[in-house]
Amino acid sequence: MIDTVNLTRKFGEVTAVDGLTLHVDDGEVFGFLGPNGAGKTTTVRMLCCLISKTGGEARVANYDVGNVADAPKIRRLIGLVPDNVGLYEDLSAYENLDYYGKLYRRTEAQRKESIEYFLKMLGLWEKRDAMTGTFSKGMKQKLAIARALIHDPEVLFMDEPTANLDPESSKTVRDFILELKKEKKTIFLNTHNLDEAQRICDRIGILNTKLMAVGTPEELERSVLGRKTVVRLRRVNDAILGAVKKLSLGSMTREDDRLTIDVVDPEEENPAIVRAIVEAGGDVESLSVLGSTLEDAYLKLVREGQ
């Protein structure tokens, strides 16, 4: 659905996005993590045909992002939830959505149906005639999401949709994104929130002007420090050590009656470890898996990029 090859954007001497090569699948929720000024918003703006690229290639739904003739076609297929909601505070919730429905050339019947559907789904139907200026931040954010979906876009770009929201509103927004995920909507999510990215996204890209890493949350966690299985035994002897070494896993260290073994896939390898220890006459008291978190991975990669 989204493909970029060496996508670059410079503002004068400053490079905001440097050689971004990325692929986002149809129906995938892709998270874009990065510190402030990493180029996340610039990337979204380029993909939404709001600003031009200064290098590389980008395609959204097989349309060329740099092609002037393709830009309106891309805009018809995408929805954008910007970091600032940008609602018309002197218009009601219904009027805000109706206006955008008109801009996307939806018929009156289509607009009516979509507006009712989204406002009811987001719990704003009762407030449909209230001026948006009276809404809480969470309500505004929900309305901005509804606005981006009013024309049933194929791709939804969301720029930090839960930033500055209270925990309850954040949860509502996250739950709604998960609903959209079930509907197989392609979502490109810029976020600072690692927990949110981990819970919602199929894959995550870590950007710090350059793309530092990309993968599933689990792949990213493993890519930095790997995982370790810690086995506590009643007694460790050479037979047990030999049995574990025979499994040809990663490196193993012994500290008193505790063995720490580097593993790649704990779910696959731990049963074999336990079996080998028991067959060698060992008694397993406890087993735990240590691993790096997404936060570890993020911080390491971002620091490397600085």
Partner: protein, 244 residues
Amino acid sequence: MSEWMPWAIAGKDFKVLGRKKSIAYTLVVFPLVIAVGLPAIGWLLITRDAVLAANLIPYFNVFAFFFVVVASFLPSAIASYSIVGEKVEKSLEPLLATPVTDDEILLGKSLASFLPSMGATYIGGAIYMVLVDVITLQPLGYLYYPDWTAAVLFLLAAPLACLFSVELSVIVSARVTDVRAAQQFGRLLLLPFAAVYVLGEIGIVPLVADNLLIISAVLLVVDVVLFSISRSTFKREEILTKWK
């Protein structure tokens, strides 16, 4: 360009502007004060001194030039909300992410400023002309309005002055960050038209049909230049990366 899309944009602005009391007051009060105030002063003078009445009557067309001033002032008051207001509310980014073209947005915004301004100017002008006819009918013995001067003034000079203000407001909107600054700029727009009025009043440039045609021609040229500048200013990329 879709013919319908600019109307959708203007329609939204009409709705928002209708809920801004200060804009509604400006649209009603400013033209109304001139439409009623100037004939009222004329009526007071005419009823007190017959000689003065004879001298005063030709000046009603000079007074009518105030409606060109009105037409140039009102759009800046509206555009300050229509365009700068979008900047303040940060609603330009989602708007620019829709398939609407830059020209459609520019035309929609221009219509949103132009139409209410001209509507208010014409209503004020109509009231003014009726009142002037009422107070001058007896001393003159014929209807003062309509005449060619008023026709040129209301059908050419006023719309062109209005367009001048609309285009300049778009250009200024790119440079200012708040509604008040845009409004203050709008007040400056009064100066060139006020200067023409003073020149008319003291007889250096009599505000008769011929001179008004020349003024309109100059405004037309300026409008064309300003239109091309405002069009080059109103580009998605410029708006998102350079507008402050």
